[in-house]
Amino acid sequence: MRVLIVEDNDRLAKLMAEGLQRRGFSCDIAGNLADADSAMDGAAYDAIILDLGLPDGDGVDWLGARRRTQHVAPALIVTARGALEDRVAGLDGGADDYVVKPIEIEELAARVRALLRRPGPRAQTVIEIGALSFDTAARAARYEGNEIDLSRREADLLELLMRRAGTVVRRGAIEDALYSFNEPVTPNAVEAAMSRLRRKLDEAGAGGKLNTIRGIGYMLRETA
């Protein structure tokens, strides 16, 4: 998987690239937006890691401009800006996710993996979370190579949780994704589907990865 790192601090860019390479990504570095443009014209990237304040412009503006004319890989904004309004502005400007400096390489890698799991033209058909894998085309789940037999709804649920592994998926989002408009959703339909999925994962040996956040929703952990 190929990632473009757009960051004007050389040392930081190299360290990020090195850390991501150790985790199986191949990385190119662009020190400014002009370099980023030429890198993107020369190669197809699966994800972009973008610093906001670059010598020749603002990362979000550049991203927005590129997005208007062509498809651009999902972008993760790395910002040194603060906690309140800037974050929201970055997401509104077309970024898919953001992290605030100083970043930990584990967190950065997790966010990039999450971006790559999003549906899109270059999205992979097989999503993998550790030893758990899901083939989105064949609708088949495997744990350590052994197939897990899932109903259509359980498969949808697992795909949703795997695509957003490491983050909390809210109950409302699950209801929206699993049940169509005119389908009546009973209050505990999601709970019932979730407990069936949990039991099947437990039986396959992938137990304990599924967390319930009471009052909010569910989360599939990325790591054991």
Binding site: E18, I103, E104, T167, V168, I213, R214, G215, M219
Partner: protein, 339 residues
């Protein structure tokens, strides 16, 4: 102790002196015109007459002049100083809203204007200095992020047992910087006085708990949200309220031992409560933490106290309060009802 100078007292003294000098001069005039001599005063009758003459021609005029003058003079002085007294009361009433505060000079007498203008100018300079100080703190925090990111990534490359301990220190520094940035932003936001928006507390709590849950679970703890179907709505700044709740939840997570649970409750009323399994925080201790760190002279290593001081500041800006119930191990963000 030196006696403080008082305008009223000086006026009284001045009038007294004028009265005394006037009386002596009048006395001399009376003595001269009536050709009174000390020889005549020997007779009892003459003395009585002389005293009566004195009272009629000296005592009475002096009294008629001096009493109304003293009365009017004191009254004028009291009225002249009234705007100053009112300004003092207004300044006292503005406690806690010192930023951008200026003395109202519209009712000030012209003589007091140089003083009040000078004070207002001083206030403006203080505001300016505080703003620059805050901007500086924000800049420093901002500039620290990149080297800190480099440091944390360098540590990640080290395959050494000590590296994880150092990484924890970097994480503590990162939290501190986050808090400083937050503080600077709250100050900036307060200065611009944005219009408040309607904020459903349940939405804020859901956002914050969702955001923090992965970290809480990774730390081997659990977190849950308890909210009714109807969300209480407060008027304020959503991002600031979220930041306050985030600080509280992060504190609660740190105070809770591994395997423990943090619970966030929305309501009853316009309040969010955060319950942890730590030792509980007494109101004295909370007060200490907030006061000590609002002066920022004793920041704790992980920024916990600074965090609570920030929560308190956000709540105060919303007309609410941060309260603690050590028995229930709860900290509460309490907003005014129908705010």
């Amino acid at each position: 102790m030196t006696h403080r100078r008082s305008v009223s007292r000086r006026l009284a003294r001045g009038l007294g002196l004028v009265g005394l000098i006037g009386s002596i001069l009048l006395l001399a005039a009376v003595v001269f015109f009536y050709r009174l001599s000390f020889v005549d005063l020997n007779a009892k009758q003459a003395t009585d007459r002389a005293i009566r003459e004195m009272l009629e021609h000296v005592g009475l005029p002096v009294l008629v002049l001096m009493v109304p003058m003293a009365f009017v003079g004191l009254r004028v002085i009291r009225q002249a100083f009234m705007p100053l007294e009112e300004a003092a009361m207004e300044i006292e009433a503005a406690r806690g809203h010192e930023r951008e505060y200026r003395i109202d000079t519209s009712r000030m007498p012209a003589e007091a204007l140089p003083f009040t203008d000078a004070v207002n100018d001083l206030l403006a300079r203080l505001d300016d200095a505080a703003t620059r100080q805050e901007a500086f703190a924000a800049d420093v925090a901002h500039e620290l992020r990149t080297p800190l990111a480099v440091l944390s990534l360098e540590l990640d490359r080290l395959d050494h047992a000590e590296a994880s301990r150092l990484k924890a220190d970097v994480a503590a520094m990162r939290r501190l910087i986050d808090q400083l940035m937050l503080l600077a932003q709250i100050d900036a936001a307060t200065a611009t006085q944005l219009a408040p928006e309607a904020v459903p507390l349940t939405d804020v709590a859901t956002d914050v708990v969702s955001l923090l849950a992965p970290g809480v679970i990774a730390a081997g703890k659990t977190i849950a949200l308890e909210a009714g179907a109807e969300s209480p709505i407060v008027h304020g700044r959503r991002e600031a309220i979220a930041a306050a709740l985030r600080n509280l939840v992060e504190n609660a997570v740190r105070a809770t031992p591994a395997g423990g649970a943090v619970q966030v409750f929305v309501g009853p009323g316009c309040a969010i409560r955060v319950k942890d399994q730590g030792p509980g925080l007494s109101s004295d201790r909370l007060h200490d933490l907030i006061r000590r760190h609002s002066r920022a002279d004793h920041a704790s290593k992980d920024g916990a106290g600074l965090g609570l001081a920030i929560v308190e500041r956000i709540m105060a800006a919303h007309g609410g309060a941060l309260t603690t119930d050590p028995g229930a191990r709860e900290l509460t963000l309490r907003f005014p009802e129908n705010s």
